[in-house]
Every structure is written in structure tokens, then in C-alpha cells.
């Protein structure tokens, strides 16, 4: 078993390599097992239990929570929860698309600057990370209030009834979501734009390609890895967001993140909260799976 091997120039044995690997990686593996995997399993189990009369968990197998999520509650069928799920997907998709549309040209702009300017601009992109999300949301609340210039302009133009603000509502949610997710789209895109091989662009030009064709064949394929990372990094947080929609969306614009927060908080209905969390997890995984599958097909075709 203790066969001698040379591992990147180091003479050692297989057994010693294994021991070392286990010691080094063991900490993270145990941490994930204890604090991520086991709790996730507990939560999944929780989704199949009942809420007691005082908000306690009754360990009794039931599918009632899932029926409720699908709209079969105590009273007649209602689409409320499905609407929240659908709206969440919609908001996450729109946020992702908006982030990409803003981040893609920005990545090119930053990558085209001198080394020093690039560092400064990337620093600016990161600035929002240094400010608490809640504070940023309150900033938007103030700015979009009914007496502030943006709302006034909208009132004057007739888009908004007098004495109403742009907050709370869909617009405020999108503004908040895009502001908080944009850095996650810019950074991976910038990384792939910075490494772009411009000789492919020249080759396409040399081969008579008009602008659209140059982009499609010389630029887009090279930025695909960054684009993939950007999509994943914006879509997943956007699906689970609850601070921004809670503060900027108001009661009428509830997203799945708020629903979960509400069940574990005010409603004291942990089993139903766990069920909604499961649904969110499954939906996100399906989304990623569809996206990945499509990307794979794109690479083959």
C-alpha cells in the first residue's frame, strides 16, 4: 500500500498523500456536513410535518403544506402562493437580464482603460458591497418618495397620479435588485472581457464580417464563460432576495423570499416555511439545469 510516488517533485507514498488530503479538506467537509447538509435534510423533513396550534412543529407526516402551496387551502382554491412563486421567477429573470445589459458594456469599458484606471473603476463597482443593503434600500425609499424629483417628473408627465410616489412598487423593487446584484454580473464579465483575444475580432473583420457577425462569432463566444457565471451569480440571489422586496415592494409585491421569512417569523409556521424553501430550491435547480443543458447544446451545435 505504501508505494512510493513522486507528487509534483515531492517523494512520498500514496498513503501519506491520502492522509494529508483528508486532513486538509476534512475541516471544510465536516463544516458543510454539519451546518449545511444536515440542516438542509432536517428542513426538507420539516416540510412534511404539521404546525401545532401554538406554532410548534408536530412530527406527523403530511402533504398538507404542498397542497396549500398549490392553492388548496382551508377555503376555496386560490392562486396566491403560485402567484408569488411566478412573480419571484419573473423578478429574478428581469433582474438578471437588466444586470447583464448594464454589465456587459460596462465590462468592456473598464477593460479598455489603463491599468490604474481599471483598478479604480473596479473599486467603484464594489462600493455597494461596503454599504449595508438595508441602508441602500432606505436610500431608494427616500429618493422615490412622492415629493422627490423622480416622482414629481412622473406625476407631471402623467404616468403617476398626483401625490403618489414611485415607491412602493415593482419599479422600486427592480431598481433595488439591480443595484444590489450588478457587481456580481460585472466582475465575472470583466474577467472574461479582459482576457479577450482581439486577434479573433481582427480575423473576423479581415474576413468581411459586418458588426453583428463580428460580435456573434469573435466576441460573444469568448465571453460565454463570464456570461454564464454572471447569470448564475445574479439569478440565484435574486430568486431568494427578501430584504429589498420587503422594504421596497410593499405588501402587494411579495416575493418568495418574503413569504419564507414571514412563515419562519411572524406566522410561526415553520413546516410551511420549509415547504416553500424546498420549492424555491427545486425551482432554482431546475432553472440552472435548463440553462446548463442549453449551454451544453450550444457548445455542441
Amino acid at each position: 500500500m505504501s508505494r512510493l510516488v513522486i507528487w509534483y517533485g515531492q517523494l512520498t507514498t500514496r498513503r501519506r498523500l491520502w492522509t494529508k488530503g483528508a486532513l486538509l479538506a476534512g475541516g471544510a467537509a465536516l463544516w458543510l456536513l454539519a451546518f449545511l447538509l444536515l440542516p438542509a435534510l432536517v428542513m426538507a423533513a420539516l416540510g412534511f410535518t404539521k404546525r401545532g396550534p401554538y406554532g410548534e412543529v408536530q412530527w406527523q407526516f403530511t402533504l398538507e403544506n404542498f397542497r396549500r402551496l398549490l392553492g388548496y387551502g382551508l377555503m376555496e382554491w386560490s392562486a396566491d402562493y403560485l402567484l408569488i412563486l411566478g412573480r419571484s421567477i419573473w423578478v429574478a429573470l428581469v433582474t438578471t437580464v437588466l444586470c447583464l445589459l448594464l454589465a456587459y458594456p460596462l465590462a468592456f469599458f473598464i477593460a479598455g482603460r489603463s491599468r490604474r484606471t481599471r483598478a479604480a473603476l473596479l473599486g467603484l463597482v464594489m462600493v455597494p458591497f461596503c454599504t449595508n443593503l438595508v441602508i441602500r434600500a432606505y436610500g431608494w425609499m427616500l429618493l422615490l418618495g412622492h415629493q422627490m424629483p423622480p416622482a414629481r417628473l412622473a406625476q407631471l408627465a402623467g404616468f403617476l397620479p398626483p401625490d403618489t410616489g414611485l415607491y412602493p412598487g415593482a419599479l422600486a423593487v427592480f431598481l433595488g435588485m439591480v443595484t444590489s446584484d450588478l457587481p456580481f454580473a460585472v466582475l465575472p464579465l470583466y474577467t472574461s472581457v479582459e482576457r479577450l483575444d482581439w486577434s479573433l475580432v481582427e480575423a473576423a473583420r479581415d474576413l468581411y464580417a459586418p458588426r453583428r457577425r463580428v460580435f456573434l462569432h469573435a466576441i460573444l463566444p469568448q465571453t460565454l464563460p463570464g456570461l454564464t457565471a454572471a447569470i448564475i451569480l445574479t439569478f440565484i440571489p435574486a430568486m431568494g432576495a427578501f430584504v429589498v422586496p420587503d422594504l421596497l415592494g410593499g405588501a402587494k409585491y411579495m416575493l418568495v423570499g418574503n413569504l419564507i421569512q414571514q412563515q419562519f417569523g411572524a406566522s410561526r409556521d415553520w413546516p410551511f416555511g420549509a415547504t416553500v424553501s424546498l420549492a424555491l430550491l427545486v425551482l432554482t435547480l431546475i432553472g440552472l439545469f435548463l440553462f446548463r443543458g442549453r449551454e451544453g447544446a450550444g457548445e455542441r451545435g
Binding site: S199, E202, A203, A204, D206, L207, Y208, P210, P221
Partner: protein, 345 residues
């Protein structure tokens, strides 16, 4: 004044990058169907010049004329010129066939025509065998063929080749040179090659332009440039040369070790004579003229020939490997007057 059909003329082109002058008032003319090479050390401006011809760089001054059309300010995708890039710049997400079809599809040629011409180009470069593969699945030599096919399928008036062989190993490079030459003769197209490898320049070209510091130092057929280098730079850059500092007065040329006879009279008082190592003759006794008695200091065995370093004057003498000479031997060498080049500088 309108040029001949297909003739490429560069007239007084200059280009600066910030403080650095990449090209200073460069002019050259390439006839239709000619294989011309720009050769020079890195940084001499040769790549800048073909990038200006391709439309990938804008000249600060001067004109580029193709046939009778001034193309100086024509964008790259409107010029009847195609480039083989240094690292080939093949599109990684497209197959070989799609890469070759790219230019024709850009110009919206009918599908039947695209298919026919792509098939012909792939056949011409013996690339049908890997037409379905992606660039990352190809060897260096295969990539090179695909890059050639991708450019030639568009039937450009001028094909520009930017150091196309620098990524290949020595043996393959020698094969590709012959292939390039064959291809150019077969198609009768104008090829303009850029290289830093003077061997490559000599073996493939009809004419070569030796460049240094943004200027053309000498132009001519490979034989002209090799046999009659104009100055010290060309003599040393193209092939190996013995440089002999001499003084000249009243028709008598004086080297450090004695008098020398040359065919033409040097136009200067102090200057340099050049002679190729293979032109220096090893003698058993004192020759009639231009003889030198020396000692073999070093012997370099090169297989096909042997190079001797003879003192005084560190003269390099190339002779057959059968020559019975050893280090330390006293020898006579002759510098035949007809091969002593008077450098004009």
C-alpha cells in the same frame, strides 16, 4: 497614374506609436503574382506594414494603392486582401469547415457556391480529413493549413502572411515553406510574407525587403541581397558574414594584417569589407593574392560542413567536412577579390 492590375504599391507610408516611429516613409511595389517577403528583426516595423495593408492599422501618412484604387482609408472588410495571422486566429467555436466558409458567408454568397468553394479550398490544402473538427483538436501544421484555406477561399488579390510559421517546429517549417511556394505558383497570386527568419525569406521569395528601424535597408532577389549586401546590417542579418575593417587610400586597400585587392574601389577612406564564410578558400600554400597565414583556433562541426575560426582576424571559413584540418594547425586562406564586397557605409 493608374497601376497595373493587381499591383500593390506602398507610397511613403509612415506610422508612429506614441514616441516610437514604427515606419518612416516606406515605399515598395509588388507586382501581381509575385512572392515578396519583408524580413527583419523584431520591432523593425514589418508587421505594422502588413497590418496597414490589411486595414488593421491606419497609416499616419502615405498611401496604399492596389491596382488603380487607393485603399489607404478603406476599412478592412472592404479590402480584397486576406491575412493569415501569426497564431492563426481560428474561431474556436466553429469547425474547420465553418472557419473556411466564414468569409464567403460574411459576403452572403449562395450556399451552393460556399459549399463548392470551401470543398475546393479544403482539398487544395489536404484538409478534408479533419473538416469536422474544432481548432483545439488540430495540430500546429493542420491549423496552419486551415488558416491558409480560410484566407485563400476568398480569392484575395493579395494574401498577407504574418509570421505564419513561427509556431511550427523546424522540420515542419521546411515542409510548409515548399508547400507555400508551390501554392503560390499554382494560384499565381500575390503573396506578401512577414518573417524574422532570413532562411525562410531566402527560400520562398521572388524578392525580399530587408527592414530595420522602420526603414527598408535593401530590396532585391534573395541572390542579389545575399551576394551583394549593401551595408553591415544586411550582411550580418542575411546569412553569416566576415566583416573586415580596412582603410583605403590611392586605390590600395589595407587590412590589419596586410594589403587586399578588391574588384571595385571603395568610395570611402575607412570602412568595411564583407565576405561569406563559404567564399573564403582554404589553401595548402600561399595564394597569388589576398592570402592570409593563420592558425585554426576553433573547429565547429555542422554535419554538412565544418566552420573554422582562423586567427588573426577571427575569420570564419566554411569548408567540406572531409578537410583534414585540426585545431592549432597553421593554414593559408585566400579571400578571392570577386567575393570581397565593399559595403557602402
Amino acid at each position: 497614374m493608374s497601376g497595373e492590375q493587381g499591383e500593390l504599391r506602398v507610397e511613403g507610408v509612415s506610422k508612429r506609436f506614441g514616441e516610437v516611429a514604427a515606419l518612416c516613409d516606406v515605399s515598395l511595389a509588388v507586382a501581381r503574382g509575385e512572392f515578396v517577403t519583408l524580413v527583419g528583426p523584431s520591432g523593425c516595423g514589418k508587421t505594422t506594414l502588413i497590418r496597414i495593408i490589411a486595414g488593421l492599422e491606419l497609416a499616419d501618412g502615405g498611401r496604399v494603392v492596389l491596382g488603380s484604387a487607393d485603399i489607404t482609408r478603406l476599412p478592412a472588410h472592404r479590402r480584397p486582401v486576406n491575412t493569415v495571422f501569426q497564431d492563426y486566429a481560428l474561431f474556436p467555436h466553429l469547425s474547420v469547415r465553418e472557419n473556411v466558409a466564414f468569409g464567403l458567408r460574411s459576403r452572403k454568397r449562395p450556399p451552393e457556391e460556399v459549399e463548392r468553394r470551401v470543398a475546393a479550398a479544403l482539398e487544395m490544402l489536404q484538409s478534408e480529413g479533419f473538416a469536422q473538427r474544432r481548432p483545439h483538436q488540430l495540430s500546429g501544421g493542420q491549423k496552419q493549413r486551415v488558416a491558409l484555406a480560410r484566407a485563400l477561399v476568398n480569392e484575395p488579390e493579395v494574401l498577407l502572411l504574418d509570421e505564419p510559421m513561427s509556431a511550427l517546429d523546424a522540420k515542419l517549417r521546411a515542409e510548409v515553406r515548399l508547400e507555400l511556394r508551390r501554392l503560390q505558383r499554382q494560384l499565381g497570386k500575390t503573396f506578401l510574407l512577414v518573417t524574422h527568419d532570413q532562411d525562410e525569406a531566402m527560400t520562398v521569395s521572388d524578392r525580399i525587403f530587408v527592414m530595420r528601424d522602420g526603414r527598408i535597408e535593401q530590396a532585391g532577389t534573395p541572390a542579389e541581397v545575399y551576394e551583394h549586401p549593401r551595408n553591415r546590417f544586411v550582411a550580418e542579418f542575411v546569412g553569416a558574414a566576415n566583416l573586415i575593417p580596412v582603410t583605403a587610400s590611392d586605390g590600395a586597400v589595407q587590412a590589419a594584417w596586410g594589403q587586399l585587392t578588391t574588384l571595385c574601389r571603395p568610395p570611402w577612406q575607412e570602412g568595411i569589407l564583407a565576405i561569406r564564410p563559404e567564399r573564403v578558400r582554404l589553401c595548402t600554400q600561399e595564394p597569388a593574392a589576398n592570402g592570409l597565414r593563420g592558425r585554426v583556433r576553433e573547429l565547429i562541426y555542422c554535419g554538412a560542413h565544418v566552420d573554422l575560426l582562423v586567427e588573426p582576424a577571427s575569420l570564419r571559413v566554411r569548408c567540406a567536412p572531409s578537410a583534414a584540418v585540426q585545431v592549432g594547425d597553421e593554414v593559408w586562406v585566400e579571400l578571392p577579390p570577386e567575393h570581397l564586397e565593399v559595403l557602402s557605409e
